[in-house]
């Protein structure tokens, strides 16, 4: 997979704003201290194109600080694309374009004041498939983000950070005696929790999760959900899931995405999770959350 391609083809209908080439230094300092405040993430009219084809139409959502927002909807409706727009991973796909604004506590991450790498430090991500770095040990995996940012900590603080993050991810008791083993030696569920610990170690203010449990068994899923509930107070969580029960269990807010045949994906309805599941205003939402389609 080519991640670094800069190729961008122009769509037939030009998007309102190209991804800007950001060169200015960051206005928001990278938070490395022990406490990072959860941030509010707002999007205004976010659209996305792949090779000139509109796949996501004007999504405006407000993800409140310290809350868990679930993005639900059938496959191919743009949930993952939307999630990847939130931390500038979308632009790594060849031929990808977007429009609209993504504001992290009022600062547009596409606005030119923030580098892509800095916005990704504030907005971490956990992927569908567990992807610990195979050439690094468990401990090095947790500290990878610091290494990439060239942040040097004294040995004692490093050890504390590793313990804190692995504890938060619910993995500490299982791996405390094998921190020097390679990340690949863990089971799938443990690897995913290691990835969560790794993402949390840079103290992000928002954590994006792209179907984090879809490759895991029910027990591991349970552990991850516990982890999500534990960290929810300290970081704003946005999770994409295909599992209705999971959305109901872990999220405070919910947004339902849908793409009609031949049409781009859009948000049908969003709001508090209880309302979305118990008393949705749109019949399509009701049908989807009750398993009548999708």
């Amino acid at each position: 997979m080519k991640v670094f391609s800069r190729e961008r083809s122009r769509p037939a209908e030009a998007p309102t704003a190209e991804v800007p080439a950001v060169t200015a230094t960051a206005q928001v300092p990278v938070v490395t201290g022990p406490v990072a405040q959860p941030a509010r993430l707002e999007t205004h009219g976010v659209c996305a194109w792949f090779s000139g084809r509109l796949v996501l139409d004007s999504v405006s959502l407000d993800m409140e600080p310290s809350r868990v927002t679930a993005l639900i909807g059938p496959s191919g409706c743009g949930k993952s694309t939307y999630l990847r727009i939130l931390n500038r991973m979308h632009e790594l796909v060849p031929g990808a374009q977007l429009a609209g604004r993504v504001e992290l506590d009022g600062i547009d991450i596409y606005g030119g004041g923030l580098r892509a790498t800095d916005s990704r430090k504030h907005i971490g991500m956990v992927f569908q498939k567990p992807n610990p770095f195979p050439a690094m040990t468990i401990e090095e995996n947790v500290l990878a983000g610091l290494k990439f940012s060239r942040i040097k900590l004294p040995a004692e603080q490093r050890r504390q950070l590793v313990e804190e993050m692995l504890t938060k991810a619910g993995l500490w008791n299982e791996v405390k005696d094998r921190l020097n083993e390679l990340g690949g030696s863990l089971s799938g569920g443990q690897q995913q929790r290691l990835c969560i610990a790794r993402a949390l170690a840079v103290r992000p203010r928002v954590l994006l999760m792209d179907e984090p449990c879809s490759a895991l068994d029910p027990t591991s899923t349970n552990r991850i959900e516990e982890t999500i509930r534990d960290i929810a107070g300290e970081v704003t969580v946005v999770i994409v899931t295909h599992n209705m029960q999971q959305a109901q269990r872990v999220s405070n807010m919910c947004a339902f995405f849908l793409a009609a045949e031949g049409k781009p994906g859009h948000v049908v309805e969003s709001g508090p999770t209880e309302m979305m599941f118990d008393n949705p205003s749109d019949p399509r939402t009701s049908d989807y959350v009750n398993g009548r389609f999708g």
Partner: protein, 417 residues
């Protein structure tokens, strides 16, 4: 139940049971649904009898091996009669090929008779593939053993540092007490080392460009690299000769040879490293970027370490090829029987050149000298290969190179304290 549950049992499909019970195709007793549910659900298994010995369904078994041997023997007899007695053909190679073909045919027919058709096809295919592998390993071993046997007879440690300066073929085998290929070893190491020093960083950067950076130039660069790997080595030598040596930019020297070897190493190392980088999962790059790493950090700290052992193999392959190149050295290093440590001035020896210049000579002792040089060359490549394997091993990642590099400092620290 009588044996561990396998996929076959769970599929529940009726599968034919072969008479010998260990045919190459999967065998499993046909189970009713009751017995299946019993097998899956029971925690404490109640067995009807003792567990039968474990077996691998793909193994030939004693019977299969016996059939194999018998087929080989009978094919040998039949072909010997046909080949040497009835048709008066001759030639060992022809006999071997006919024997092998006949053996496969006999083996298939016999297995069809004794077991069944599908097992016969499977075993013949297995035999065919296994014998191809054996042939390749055999050829490799033959070359190595042959060179070692021919070369080791006159080898002595002194041969590694003495030079060919007092080279008097008339002395016979007493010659080996006086001469050596030290100057050629130094030459080969310097020439290949310089070439690697130039080629490896450039090749890695090119591979990173092709696979990680991308952009409009990729197709063009890849085409050029492919075209470069097609350049015959002798042409590379002539090219350097015409470009540097004829206009007296450089004299005959090890450095000129290194440039020619560089031209040959670059495409090989680039293509191999590109392939190695390509198999690094894209998910790792995404994970690194999502942590806020820049693209260069991602390449340096995630992609390259993950591809480490593959990249080392790429370098070793390039070095091994360059160490054995002869043609480009003829016009560049020129060869030298005296020791010349300075790679930048004056003709320099090289092991392939010693081999090339002596193997055609009439005197036996000179040919023996060439074989001893070949033995030394083979050993050098072998040692490089083993070293690279050791460096590339994951377990020595922490303790290997880094520890080795730090060792002198630690030792010095120990002295101070």
């Amino acid at each position: 139940m009588t044996r561990p549950v396998g996929v076959d049992d769970l599929l529940g499909a009726p599968i034919e049971v072969h008479p010998n019970g260990n045919s190459a195709v999967a065998t499993a007793p046909v189970r009713s649904d009751e017995s299946l549910s019993h097998v899956v659900l029971s925690g404490d298994v109640t067995r009807a009898g003792p567990i039968s010995p474990p077996r691998r369904t793909r193994d030939f078994g004693a019977q299969g091996v016996a059939l194999l041997a018998a087929s080989a023997l009978s094919a040998f007899a039949v072909v010997w009669v046909l080949f040497y007695q009835l048709t008066l053909l001759s030639g060992a190679l022809g006999f071997l090929i006919c024997w092998y073909a006949c053996f496969l045919a006999v083996f298939w027919v016999v297995t069809v008779q004794v077991v069944d058709r599908s097992a016969a096809t499977d075993r013949v295919a297995t035999t065919l593939v296994a014998s191809c592998a054996a042939l390749v390993i055999g050829v490799l071993l033959y070359i190595v053993i042959w060179v070692v046997l021919k070369g080791v007879a006159h080898f002595s440690p002194g041969f590694l540092w003495r030079t060919l300066a007092d080279y008097q073929p008339a002395e016979g085998t007493a010659l080996f007490g006086k001469v050596g290929v030290g100057q050629a070893i130094v030459g080969t190491l310097e020439e290949v080392g310089l070439a690697a020093l130039m080629a490896v960083p450039l090749a890695f950067l090119t591979a990173i460009f092709l696979n990680e950076v991308g952009g409009w130039g990729v197709r063009f660069v890849r085409t050029i690299v492919t075209a470069m790997s097609g350049v015959p080595s002798v042409v590379a030598g002539v090219f350097i000769y015409a470009l540097f040596i004829v206009p007296h930019v450089l004299g005959y020297s090890g450095f000129a040879a290194a440039i020619a070897l560089f031209v040959l190493m670059l495409p090989s190392v680039t293509r191999t490293s590109e392939e190695v980088l390509r198999v690094v999962p894209g998910g790792l790059r995404e994970a690194s970027l999502a942590l806020g790493a820049s693209e260069w950090r991602t390449v340096r700290q995630v992609v390259l370490p993950t591809a480490r052992s593959g990249l080392i193999t790429a370098v070793v392959l390039g070095v091994a090829i360059a160490a054995g190149e002869t043609a480009p050295l003829i016009f560049t290093a020129f060869g030298n029987n005296d020791m010349n440590v300075n790679a930048f001035h004056g003709p320099q020896g090289a092991l392939p050149l010693v081999l090339y210049q002596n193997i055609f000579q009439a005197q036996t002792v000179v040919v023996q000298l060439a074989f001893t040089a070949a033995f030394v060359l083979l050993m050098i490549v072998l040692i490089l290969f083993v070293l690279a394997r050791l460096l590339g091993r994951r377990s020595t990642r922490k303790g290997g190179l880094r520890k080795l590099a730090k060792a002198p400092f630690n030792w010095a620290k120990g002295l101070v304290s």
